[in-house]
Symmetry: C2
Subunit: 205 residues, 2 copies
Amino acid sequence: MAELPVPLQVLKSALGKLPGIGPRTAERLALHVVQSGSQWVKDLSVALVEAKERVRFCQSCGGLTEVQPCELCADPRREMTVICVVERPVDVISLERSNVFRGLYHVLGGKISPLNGVGPEDLRIGELGKRLSEGGVEELVLALGSDVEGDATSYYLAERFQPLGIKTTRLAHGLPVGRGLEFADELTIGRALEGRRALDLGPSE
Amino acid sequence: MAELPVPLQVLKSALGKLPGIGPRTAERLALHVVQSGSQWVKDLSVALVEAKERVRFCQSCGGLTEVQPCELCADPRREMTVICVVERPVDVISLERSNVFRGLYHVLGGKISPLNGVGPEDLRIGELGKRLSEGGVEELVLALGSDVEGDATSYYLAERFQPLGIKTTRLAHGLPVGRGLEFADELTIGRALEGRRALDLGPSE
């Protein structure tokens, strides 16, 4: 018994393929499974296959969905004239939780990153071009991260779709709401200063 | 779509019950599953149920096994006169890998820890007493961790089984092999000094 029993070795190896789970953590999780209630283990086993089989990417926006097209793309109450471009499917959920944006989405599936071998053709940029060329879109909101690759991708998209004459905007940079200056880095404070706005005091009596 | 699709929510919640996996990590893992190859997801799903169903605890030593009693307990080449007491089933594997110990094991399933509500009756101490009272055991090797709880458990076991007249030993403390003094804490260095041994130069010509 210098080794784990075979079923545990198999489980450890399968768990070790999850991102961020090394061999030691995989072993710990596998041992936890053996010592847990069997109902939970069955539930997890079924949930894995169910999620993999039932959740798909929307053929239009690229977001996560169980139906084609997804609920957002099929919702007639959404503004069809605005498309918000995001990097990952989860970004759609983050934006929706803010309850501010009422348009449609387009998931790129990543950022342009020459160092990682990711070019424009590896992302859903062709699909975006197709949606835009079908007409009716007036504004493209670029909601990519503000790291180097996110910025590069934003500029690439803005340039590529400039000939279509569609207004291109990007999310504002500034201080996080509810946080003081002490938690913000100097780049963020700089951007917040550049983007400062007049206080709206409302109509005076 | 302010929320994940339902199958993903179910998967996230099941993954979140693993030790050390918080809601954010669970979400990240669930999204990874949706975007992975389906063969691996099926393999993981099957491995979970297989491990849970096939791996049991040995009724004698408490180690992990697919058969009763486990291969170690059933092996006639092991020294039946020595029992090594460990905390967890994986500790057996660690000790076996060292290829030094040739006796039998007994897994306690934890340490005595009044703060966490773990008393002697919650551990497999009664089972150990039964094995010892059956006779034939000459030495009890206590291989528990050397933290406060491990030490307390070691002393508890030594006192409890003193009337049986069985020799009780515990693992030596000292410097890890292959490491210099600079990596050892002062307690370990102190124990290493106390336990110093004469250099065996072999028979002189």
